[in-house]
């Protein structure tokens, strides 16, 4: 059989990265989206998402990529993925009607033997409920990670495929496409695959929640979480790639969606999901770490305080601000002057009159009483603490993700607050009882 033609319907983050990854494996790809302006932008190189390596990979394999705003070209495809991101409401619940409408639109133009694969995040039972011949209908787990989407799409650890009949062989075209990635393929019933995706994310949240809980304890008992992390990673039951970096709660939307789905399923079925409720509570608590520190060390003593904010995206290397801790913080700083900067996200995303956009990270710090690094963008690592000390009015640096070298910040005469260890004070030289922060590789 000649190489199958692959289609992706829905050119949001997931569909775009998956399309480019498929082309990089040697397949001809049709990318479809009903938004003509979006398709035009993509075709002309104006990418609506920011992902390391995406533009370069698309450029290298552009000859096999066709972007379309009508469904017709999908009729030529052997395998068509429904690959649109699924939006969520403020409670993390999925809005599935758009996906159902997309499936309805696409399924009418498919070849008679074409395979339809649901790649988006859907709850258990969704795929089996679709009005499409089960023998040609599959669900596939996506494991997109914002900021590492290209790497994840081109080098997946495994494929998890939900099928009507897990004992049957996968259709040749589908098998041929998946084999090109060189990773294990796990077939299972639809519901298992749909719940596998959610289970993966619950495990990740469990790790994050443990890291956040222990990191907060470290801050209060004089330990340093980053000294502890290597001990955990060398434990085979935990592993090198475990999500152990403390953070400002769970963000990005996808993990929250799965927590909301489990809570909903538990409510419907009478299962105990107390642990998931604890994860959610822990996440809310962690998200407010910066606000608590600012009030305790800056705002309570200075009614006229001014705060510099670096980073608006929910994590580095992405334009996404979904559930961003930075945007969550902003409304609570309305009573104070704020200067902010993000390398990618426009300041207008904040939409608050008290917040002005600076042209650079250093300019955002100028004249401020405290500087908060809310997103660990690589460019913030280049900030020189001595330069910061010169432009800051106050002495407080909040660096939850340890973008800067704590000892260097203290040496520049600034107080340094990070997740997972007690604060380092300039007046004590960061010494005495305060542990020296260790810079370690971040995970996740």
């Amino acid at each position: 059989m000649s190489a199958p033609v692959i289609g992706f319907a829905g050119l949001t983050h997931l569909g775009l990265c998956s399309s480019v990854a498929a082309a990089s494996k040697g397949f001809h790809v049709v990318g479809y989206d009903g938004d003509s302006a979006r398709v035009k932008d993509i075709a002309e190189g104006r990418w609506p998402v920011s992902e390391p390596g995406l533009v370069e990979l698309a450029g290298a394999h552009g000859a096999r990529l066709a972007w379309r705003d009508d469904t017709g070209a999908l009729g030529l495809c052997d395998v068509v993925y429904i690959a649109s991101d699924v939006s969520t409401d403020d409670y993390g619940r999925s809005e599935l009607s758009e996906i159902v409408a997309l499936i309805d639109r696409v399924s009418t133009v498919l070849k008679q033997d074409a395979i339809l694969v649901v790649l988006c995040q859907v709850p258990p039972g969704f795929t089996r409920g679709l009005a499409f011949p089960p023998a040609r209908l599959y669900y596939q787990v996506e494991t997109l990670v914002f900021g590492r989407a290209v790497e994840r799409a081109t080098s997946p650890e495994r494929f998890v495929v939900g099928c009507a009949d897990p004992t049957a062989e996968l259709p040749e075209a589908f098998r041929q496409f998946l084999d090109a990635y060189g990773c294990p393929i796990l077939s299972m019933r639809y519901e298992s695959a749909e719940l596998a995706k959610i289970s993966i994310n619950c495990c990740l949240v469990a790790s994050i929640s443990v890291a956040n809980t222990m990191a907060e304890l470290c801050e209060k008992v004089g330990a340093d979480w980053f000294e502890i992390v290597p001990a955990l990673k060398l434990d085979k039951r935990i592993g090198q790639h475990a999500y152990l970096a403390p953070g400002l709660g769970v963000a990005g939307g996808n993990l929250e969606r799965d927590l909301a789905t489990v809570l909903c399923l538990a409510e419907n079925t009478g299962s105990d999901a107390g642990v998931i409720e604890s994860f959610v509570r822990s996440s809310h608590h962690c998200r407010d770490w910066v606000l608590r520190i600012l009030h305790e060390h800056v705002l309570s003593g200075r009614p006229d305080a001014a705060i510099g904010i670096l980073g608006l995206a929910y994590k580095e290397n992405t334009h996404s601000t979904k559930n961003s801790p930075s945007l969550a913080l902003m409304p609570h700083l309305k009573s104070w002057r704020v200067q902010m900067y993000d390398p990618v996200v426009p300041g207008g995303a904040v939409g608050q009159p008290n917040a002005v956009v600076a042209k650079s990270a250093l300019e955002a710090a100028r004249g401020m009483d405290a500087l908060v690094i809310m997103t660990p963008w690589p460019e913030f690592q280049k900030l020189n603490p001595i330069d910061l000390a010169k432009v800051l009015r106050g002495r407080v640096v909040l660096d939850p993700y340890r973008v800067l070298e704590g000892a260097a910040v203290v040496a520049a005469g600034l107080d340094y607050f990070a997740l997972g260890a007690p604060p380092l004070r300039a007046e004590s030289g960061g010494s005495s009882n305060d542990p020296v922060f260790v810079q370690t590789e971040r995970v996740g």
């Binding site: 608590h285 407010d288 608590r292 009030h295 705002l299 009614p303 700083l333 309305k334 009573s335």
Partner: protein, 290 residues
Amino acid sequence: MLEHKNAIPAKPVRVVIIGAGGFVGSAIARQLAADGVSVLPLTRKELDLLADDAAAKLKGLLQPGDSIVMVSAIAPAKTVPGLIQNLEMAEAVCAALSETEIAHAVYISSDAVYVDDANPVTERSYLAPSTIHGMMHAARELMLKSATQAPVAMLRPTLIYGAADPHNGYGPNRFRRQAAKGEPILIFGEGEERRDHVFIDDVAKLVSLVLFQRSAGALNIATGVSTSFCDIAHTVMKQFPGAVVKNQPRQGPRPHLLHRHFDITNCLKTFPSFHYTQLEKGLALSKAGV
């Protein structure tokens, strides 16, 4: 979590304080007067909530558009008759409220409504009172909410201290009085239990802020800093030259929950410019009789 019905603070037309003669009620009245608010303070003299005509009398005193602060209680309610009396008092208030279009109601509740092992306590902690006193407040919260269409704020203070507190419970007030009388400050065991103590003026200030913003929902009134009884005793000792701290055997077993902490992030979000009085300063103000 509180939701402000007034996005921009606005002075209430009139505030009726039910229970204005007590430690908390009188502090609220003073604060509101200082904020230029028209106040109708009702003490037991003007309104006995256990009298047969209490509901009718209160209804006669209320005007449409009033804000009310319900602080009156026979506290602590430790017995079943005490519980019933407190509910009867609330019943009278509810009967009056249900026939008057008030603008806003504020109920001074208690952190006793929360489950004992909540730690740290937040407004999201489960309401599962383990005492009659806690159940009394939880029931009164529901009664008031069901009696009016107006926004209702439930404020749940933890341990309050201040110069005028008539109670002499274990903690800052008793320690200060012991020291003032030249008696040793007595702590049980090592006095290691940590609790959050809030200064009376902060309670009054928060009530005023809530009234100006016509807030609805729940807010804990706690500083977010828990201090051991031993540390409080020594802080008081330093404020009274010659005072001493003495340990005495604990009466009964050590508390089930040794420490109680509050996460006050919601307060930081709700009233960003408000900050609590630090314990040392509050104790000094209490000593000065402020």
